[in-house]
């Protein structure tokens, strides 16, 4: 990749009239120091796919955050059972009478066959639930990965051996099976016999089980990077000058592992989104009436919806495809921007 500095430098030689002055400015520009972050930002801005993906992803996070506001302006919420509130819009089996799931100026994305929830607000709130859970899992997994990965790499010896074996052990777990088996157990830990299982318990349980098996890949990458950094001269120097290990990790190592953290983080998040959707699809994640992305897929796969309102599937389906593709492209772009030398 050509540096912009070279281009500007080449261009100035054409201007002959006030050569010294121009020479001076270009010199100043050439000498301007750029942090790796700035360099990354410049490279990223030139990657059109990355920028578009970033906007798409930002859009999803924005509507997720603003879901209650949008629903308020739109005048509906995802909990109203329209099949009972507006029975004239449905037949007795709960299938919307109008074609395409009853899409109209009033219900933009139509109504869900069955209980007749409003699909537009249900999708907004579903995205909100799924993204909130996934972001929480990502943050938890990244923090755990940093803590265990960096300490394993830096401390070495017995600690490294122990943490690495734990990582190996957890990596060997069949994740999806573990989620399905452990979700009801974790939920039942919190439930009192007379009350409904509160939504937050399910959310916390989802975060816990996904976090438990979600941090290892990042932890491993960080261990390797730290292991390599540990032997570098500047760390040696810090150690010789008497800096305590905590300060070395904080000031010398962490700034140098930001790249893998960011890159891995952007790969982890869409994985967690699909995993969460998968659990809700299988009926062990978020359950009705709480809106959830994955649960909308499970609704769409029922015979009632498949036979009567195939349109329904397109709203959660297409939105999720767009989101996952955009986020993965963003992850690639971030990696390219940080580390242009490695091949994909």
């Amino acid at each position: 990749m050509t540096s912009p500095i070279d281009v500007e430098g080449g261009g100035t030689s054409v201007a002959v009239d006030d050569a010294p002055q121009s020479q001076a400015t270009s010199e100043a520009k050439a000498l301007e120091g750029r942090s790796p972050g700035q360099l990354m930002w410049i490279r990223f801005k030139r990657d059109r796919t990355g920028v578009i993906s970033a906007f798409v992803v930002a859009f999803f996070f924005l509507i997720a955050l603003a879901a209650p506001l949008i629903a308020k302006l739109y005048g509906k919420n995802p909990y109203t059972v329209y099949a009972d509130v507006r029975p004239e819009l449905f037949d007795s089996a709960g299938v919307p009478i109008k074609p395409n799931g009853g899409i109209s100026s009033e219900f933009w994305f139509g109504l869900e066959p069955g209980n007749g929830y409003d699909v537009f607000t249900k999708l907004l709130y579903g995205i909100r639930t799924s993204l909130m859970i996934s972001v929480a899992v990502t943050i938890a997994a990244v923090l755990t990965g940093i803590l265990l990965g960096v300490s394993a790499g830096y401390l070495g010896g017995r600690a490294d051996y122990f943490i690495s074996r734990v990582i190996d052990f957890l990596l060997a777990f069949p994740a999806q099976l573990f989620f399905i088996a452990s979700m009801p157990v974790v939920v039942s830990l919190f439930v009192s016999p007379r009350d409904e299982t509160p939504v937050y318990v399910r959310v916390v349980a989802l975060i816990l089980v996904q976090w438990f098996l979600g941090w290892m890949s990042l932890g491993r990458v960080l261990r390797g990077t730290t292991l390599a950094l540990r032997e570098r001269e500047f760390i040696e120097a810090a150690r010789v000058s008497g800096a305590p290990p905590w300060r070395i990790i904080r000031r010398e190592i962490l700034p140098n592992v930001v790249t893998p953290i960011l890159v891995q983080g952007t790969y982890l998040l869409p994985n967690f989104v699909t995993a969460e959707a998968g659990l809700s699809f299988l009926g062990v994640g978020i359950v009705e009436p709480t809106p959830d992305w994955g649960q909308m897929f499970s609704k769409a796969s029922t015979e009632l919806v498949m036979q009567n309102d195939i349109t329904y599937m397109f709203f959660p389906g297409i939105s999720m495809i767009i989101f996952i593709v955009a986020f993965n492209l963003l992850g690639d772009s971030v990696r390219d921007a940080f580390d242009p030398k490695t091949a994909r």
């Binding site: 059972v81 037949d91 089996a93 299938v95 919307p96 395409n100 007379r194 796969s301 036979q307």
Partner: protein
């Protein structure tokens, strides 16, 4: 028929990826339900309640089915495998239905119209529906001439004696228990003390209970009047067992049959083949035909699968018909809106009635205003929707359904027919009067697909009225065990109950008699109302079935409107389809499904 447990695992959703049609557009729903028209039809059904036929009605052969011809093989897909072949063990509706083809009892329900809506009780092996001279305490039956088992031995009163005596043995444990209890004159399981080992250790029922003076005559003696005996004897569970061929437990694998078909092979969970029984004489049978050569039954066919196969109508599916399977909820409107399917479709009532029990053992539920508020607020439309709409479920009035004598279509105490989604405003007012706005209401629901769907919408309706609804999921496998515990946490929960024969004496006493409250008993709401108890005893003594039916309906109204321990949530119906070459298709209200006895191949 106890326990709608068979609904528990209904319609497990299958992701049929191959069937996904990526058209991008979908048609809207079709409105097929019309409650008012249905009420009218029900009222007409009701006018013809089931009478006892005389000797002329009981004579064979059965009236010919128009256009019927002999021959051909019919394949029968079925979801649930048959668990029992021994008549004494047969109680579940899908077993009773197919057993019509190979077991015969003293009486039977004869369809007197070709659409299967009108019936009378006639003598099947007996010459008439039974004669009594003292108002139902003594019943006399005479066997017909020329009746034989499949092995050619004639059926005598000895076989009938064996049939009833073996019901007291401990290995008979899943069949109906009405007649045993009447003979022993005790409720519950104590009847076995009358003849603890059955007839197998040389002991027999005394002549004061069951008398067989000669080879053709059987006389039942009861301590109290039981006018329902001809109905009860029509249950497959009381079909005749061969004394010579009785192999006790092994009889369940290989029974000696009496009907027009015999069991050639039976593989549990897989298949069953029925072939013609040459020793069956049509002249003795007023109920059954023998048009088809062979029935090939295959088990483990889900509702979605059998519906799709029958809709496709290719190859051997053209001569296929399922006795048990109904059209699944997802395909229902597709089937009903297709004009080509009309001649291949039958629909009708199932005996089951859905009811939301209000647990009277909880102190909070003892306030009548609260129960009234629940009754007004509870939406029943979600229940109808969850099972597939107006053709799968009817908005109910009382607990006596259209299949039971005494049904009153105008009874609608909580205005559910006008407002199936509930009346939240009225309920809220009642709740305010009781000072209980925001009270906690624990709602136990079955975690089937239907249960998930209707419980969320019902909870939304109750919340509107001011209840703090706590939904609690109960696994489908143990649902009835959980809710029939005396101490359970649920304030409200739904159960289904079906009549065993078209009389409310098989509905109200088992579910509302306060003296039978026990762990595992079917008095789910734990009602113990002195008036209900005494009325049950009084009406059980009435020998005129028409008068008894009217009295049961009065008691039904008292329970639903004044006691309010339950809120009816739906009358189960079903739609069934057959292949294009199946003739004689009719929905029989008593069998509660396609009548297998009159089918032929076109």
């Amino acid at each position: 028929m106890s326990k709608g447990g068979r609904h528990a695992y209904a319609a497990a959703s299958v992701l049929a990826a191959g069937a996904l049609v990526l058209t991008g557009c979908s048609k809207g729903g079709s409105d097929t339900g019309d409650n008012k028209k249905q009420d009218k039809e029900n009222a007409q059904r009701q006018q013809a309640s089931i009478k006892f036929g005389d000797a002329a009605d009981s004579q064979g052969p059965a009236p010919a089915v128009p256009g019927a011809k002999s021959g051909g093989t019919v394949s029968v897909p079925a979801r649930d495998s048959i668990a029992h072949l021994d008549p004494g063990q047969i109680y579940v509706s899908n077993e009773s239905q197919i057993a019509q083809l190979y077991h015969r009892g003293l009486t039977g329900f004869k369809a007197t119209s070709n659409d299967g809506t009108k019936h009378e009780v006639v003598g099947d092996l007996a010459t008439d529906a039974g004669t009594t001279t003292d108002g139902g305490k003594t019943w006399k039956y005479t066997l017909k001439d020329g009746i034989k088992f499949e092995d050619g031995t004639p059926i005598t009163s000895k076989d009938v004696r064996q049939t009833f005596e073996r019901l007291f043995a401990s290995f008979i444990n899943t069949g109906p228990t009405y007649i045993q209890q009447w003979m022993a004159n005790t409720p519950g399981a104590d009847y076995r003390k009358l003849l603890p080992d059955g007839p197998y250790k040389g002991k027999h029922l005394p002549n004061t209970v069951l008398e067989t003076p000669d080879a053709k005559t059987i006389v039942f003696h009861f301590k109290t009047a039981h006018a329902d005996l001809p109905y009860a004897l029509g249950m497959v569970g009381y079909s005749v067992v061969s004394q010579k061929g009785d192999t006790k437990e092994k009889y369940d694998k290989k029974p000696v049959t009496t009907g027009p078909y015999k069991i050639e092979s039976f593989k549990s969970g897989k298949s069953m083949v029925l072939v013609k029984n040459p020793n069956w004489d049509p002249k003795t049978d007023p109920l059954r035909h023998q048009y088809v050569d062979q029935f090939n039954v295959t088990f483990n066919q889900q509702y979605e699968d059998s519906t799709k196969a029958l809709l496709a109508d290719s190859g051997s599916d053209q001569t296929a018909v399922s006795f048990q399977n109904s059209v699944d909820a997802g395909n229902l409107s597709k089937v009903l809106s297709d004009p080509k399917m009309k001649s291949r479709t039958v629909k009708g009532y199932q005996p089951f009635v859905g009811q939301m029990n209000i647990n009277l053992s909880h102190p909070a539920m003892k306030d009548k205003k609260v129960r009234e508020a629940i009754a007004y607020a509870l939406p029943v439309s979600p229940f109808q929707r969850a099972y597939g709409g107006a053709d799968a479920m009817e908005i109910p009035g009382g607990i006596i359904s259209p299949t039971v004598s005494g049904y009153d279509p105008s009874f609608d105490p909580w205005g559910k027919k006008e407002k199936p989604a509930g009346d939240a405003a009225k309920a809220k007012k009642l709740l305010q009067e009781a000072g209980k706005v925001g009270m906690k209401l624990t709602f136990g629901y079955i975690n089937s697909q239907e249960g998930q769907a209707y419980s969320t919408a019902m909870a939304a309706g109750l919340k509107q009225a001011g209840f703090d609804v706590q939904r609690q999921e109960i696994p489908a496998e143990s649902y009835y065990d959980q809710v029939s515990k005396i101490k359970n946490n649920y304030d409200i929960f739904n159960t289904n109950w079906g009549a065993d024969w078209p009389s409310a004496s098989t509905v109200i006493p088992p579910t509302f008699d306060g003296r039978v409250i026990a762990d595992g008993a079917s008095n789910y709401s734990q009602i113990n109302d002195p008036k209900v108890n005494s009325e049950i005893d009084r009406i059980n003594q009435i020998t005129d079935p028409v008068k008894a039916a009217a009295e049961w309906e009065k008691l039904d109204k008292y329970i639903v409107k004044d006691v309010i321990n339950i809120v009816p949530t739906g009358y189960f119906k079903q739609v069934q389809i057959a292949g294009s070459k199946i003739g004689g298709l009719a929905y029989d209200d008593v069998i509660a499904g396609i009548d297998p006895r009159r089918l032929y191949v076109k």
